[in-house]
Symmetry: C2
Subunit: 507 residues, 2 copies
């Protein structure tokens, strides 16, 4: 069925869920409608979808004897979840009209009714809403009508709150200008529009974080910020950054908040991670790592381990980085033996690349302080990755830090003897650097000569001989010092030049 396929493909689209439900309502499939609301309502904080829910209750329950009770529940449910939405004004207006329409008898009931209406108005007044001015006028009328005597006092009591909300409404309107709230969430494409939309969303979220309504309730502040994140995620559910920041926000709130919410916000953070890693970002290492770290920090080691394992079961990922992080996790939480088991698993996974050997070797060196095991692991990796300059350079780096000059030289020679010439550039550079640091002049010249010979033999493959000056720049640079001006970097088209803003400088 078309609608089912739509909501499966775009599970965060309030629009598609609503169209689906409206379709079922037209066909009077009310059971199906209830089920659909069950599936989407709590996850999709989309104002139109929630208004549709209220409409559904109004249209289908009117014949029931407890209709008004049902209706009140529906309204309360809706305003609790989406009543802070900038576009919830008509929902509030409907709700208040519904409250006003209650037939009462007796002054007690009348007072109850007035209080309920006033309570609703008060919530409106403290919320930045579209057309809040109209709602304020309605509220003032209401107070005038209910009691001329008390009106001024009642109105004065909330007028400062209203001033804040009015100002916040204007700010909100201006800081979300250009936002396309109904955008359907698709995998990221890296387009200019996407980046620009995310910028507006972030701006909106940052604005909420500054507590523009000046509420003294930390719970309300957190709720508003999370609501902004949720709105953004409806459109950008494939953006790991937003999920992570939302979860992090909750996590920090839970770390600093009082005990009442501590537990709840931490749970909500976990639920956010869970949702993200289940649906849109089930293959995102970034989110899985953040999730696992979060659970680890809550001492829920089993949950953390399950997260790594779940990700490793996916067929279509590159698992090396996952193994690296999983191994570090195991070392921290269970010790070196558990970590060695992870390394064993990784070695048996044919998709794994060289980094796991580096990580395992350095772990042995750093933790068991055992040079011999580290050496064995590096040598083991060398059997598979002797052609990979990154691996070789990591191994060389380790050896040279140990001041094992002769072993380092042996490794340089061994590797350069077999590595395909077009991959050797960096290894040769490292060799020259090594000898320039620790060798005598004779060894330096010997290596430079061999390197030059290798480059010459290789020059037919690589026509950009002109880049030698770049190598020179790299060779003489040291800890952020460069041997030429920024303008020269730019003219040479050095990769680092792009990062800096240029001003004219003399050579």
């Amino acid at each position: 069925m078309l609608y089912e396929r739509l909501v499966t493909q775009f599970p965060t689209s309030g629009r598609y869920w609503r169209l689906y439900i409206e379709h079922e309502m037209r066909n009077r499939n009310y059971e199906q409608v209830e089920e659909l609301f069950q599936r989407c309502l709590m996850k999709i904080l989309n104002i139109d979808l929630w208004k549709c829910y209220v409409t559904y209750v109004r249209e289908t329950k009117s014949s029931l004897p407890n209709f008004r009770v049902k209706m009140k529940q529906a309204y309360d449910f809706a305003v609790e979840h989406v009543g802070i939405d900038f576009h919830s004004t008509t929902l509030w207006a409907d709700y208040i009209n519904f409250l006003k329409s209650e037939a009462t008898s007796g002054s007690y009931a009348e007072t109850q009714k007035t209080n309920a209406i006033r309570k609703a108005y008060h919530q409106v007044v403290m919320t930045p809403l579209m057309n809040i001015e109209q709602m304020w006028r309605d509220y003032c009328n209401f107070e005038q009508m209910s009691s001329k005597a008390a009106a001024k006092r009642n109105i004065d009591a909330v007028s400062r709150t209203y001033v804040h909300s009015k100002r916040a409404s204007a700010e909100l309107e201006s800081c979300t200008r250009g936002l396309i709230r109904g955008a359907t969430s698709v995998p990221l494409l890296g387009t200019v529009q996407e980046i620009q939309q995310l910028k507006i969303w972030k701006q909106f979220i940052a604005w909420e974080k500054r507590n523009p309504t000046r509420t003294e309730s930390n719970a309300l502040l957190v709720k508003r910020v999370l609501y902004a994140y949720e709105q953004c995620l409806l459109c950008y559910s494939h953006c790991a950054e937003i999920w992570y920041e939302a979860a992090l926000y909750l996590q920090r709130a839970s770390e600093t908040g009082n005990t009442q919410f501590k537990e709840r916000w931490a749970e909500e953070a976990a639920m956010l991670y869970e949702r993200a890693t289940t649906i849109s970002l089930s293959n995102s290492p970034l989110l899985h790592f953040a999730f696992a770290d979060f659970e680890e920090s809550r001492l829920k080691f089993d949950k953390a381990e399950a997260i790594y394992k779940k990700l490793l079961e996916k067929k279509d990922i590159q698992p090396t980085l996952v193994f690296v992080q999983y191994m570090k996790f195991s070392r921290r939480t269970e010790g070196i033996k558990a970590a060695r088991n992870v390394f064993k698993q990784a070695r048996e996974d044919p998709r794994c690349s060289h980094q796991i050997y580096v990580a395992a070797a350095l772990m042995e060196y750093n933790i068991s302080k055992d040079k011999a095991i580290a050496y064995k692991i590096f040598e083991l990796g060398l059997k598979k990755f002797a052609d990979d300059p990154t691996y070789v350079l990591a191994y060389l780096d380790h050896l040279s830090h140990l001041n094992e000059d002769n072993n380092t030289r042996v490794l340089f020679e061994k590797v350069l003897a077999t590595m395909p010439a077009e991959k050797t550039k960096e290894v040769w550079d490292k060799y020259v650097e090594f000898e320039s640091n620790v060798g005598d002049l004779a060894s330096l010249l010997k290596v430079e000569k061999k390197r030059a010979a290798s480059m010459r033999g290789n020059s037919k493959m690589d026509p950009s001989q002109c880049r030698e000056a770049l190598l020179l720049v790299d060779r003489y640079s040291y800890l952020g010092l460069i041997p030429c001006s920024e303008t020269e970097l730019k003219v040479m088209e050095h990769p680092c030049a792009a990062k800096v803003d240029l001003e004219p400088a003399s050579g």
Copy 2:
């Protein structure tokens, strides 16, 4: 005087030298003219300047009894130095007409004359020149006129060379299209036009390196390539890259060439470096380092040392990198004691920044294998540079590589206690990474908590809280593996994203 100021400011401008000389010629200041030619001719291989020289000889020496001898010398001198210029066609034509105008008597003298003319034509024929076709036709006529019988044989002998030169002329014309040969050399500005002009020059030089005239004379090939470099340097004397590549080309030629030219090319390389570091690039560390390395490789240690010293005497340079390279040089050529002296000098120079301490400490660790001295030097530097994250991170890196976990922790705590909060970000990240690698969970959580507290205290200064996801990417990346897709990097505006070409990828 205006002209003197012009050639002082733009010493590589053939045009200004020529205007200067023509001005003096108009005023018949011949002594001054001779002196000016002395100053510029050998350094400025500009065809118009050299034509001006020939004109000068023709116009001023005509009354001398040995005028034809002088004139012949002038022509020979000119074609030797700029006769390979694409625009030297009229110089050659003048020269040949001069030869043809010789009055002879007797068949021996006639044969001598014909041989001289033929020799000149042969040089023309092997050179890619503008309008080479006309010169070829002249040559064929000449052979026809001198001997109908031998003409075909004589012409056939060089016709293949001519075909190569003709094709090369066309190629040269096309590969230098857009080149502004007369551009005045000014300090680099990094403009688009500059970069684009340098691209054409490099293309031209690369073309010459491919030996387009198919000469079998290595000397001629090197001469042609160097001529191209010299032409480029007339316009871009402030571009270190070109000087370096030209010198490197000579150096390599000298290393591979036969003994006849070995010495000469090495000397020419040294002269190029000397010229570059004396005039346009007297403050360029890059060229001084390359020069010093070149002299070191020729075992001319005194010359190399003088180069470092000369650069250190400049008042308007940042000397740290120079000291670092000078110290390494001293260690290699004289040993650790000499290198320690350089470090001492550097410490006394108030302009010196922290990198020299790192370099000196690592040198002690790598060479004298003495952890204690290295430690002392790092601590000495810490007194001055405890606020500098780069310095601190280098020190921490060293300590953690030594597996001195407790000392490393002590250093982290000590530094973070005093460093201004806005500089601590990287140090905190490193601390978290350190504990995630070697610490137990309790220490990791403790550090993460402290770091979070520090960031929170700091958040008012740094409004881009949104960048936390970038930190996360960095934290989970390992040896080239990143925890997300390239598209995600781009959408997050991660600095690394700029380097990669993007294709749509799923999150």
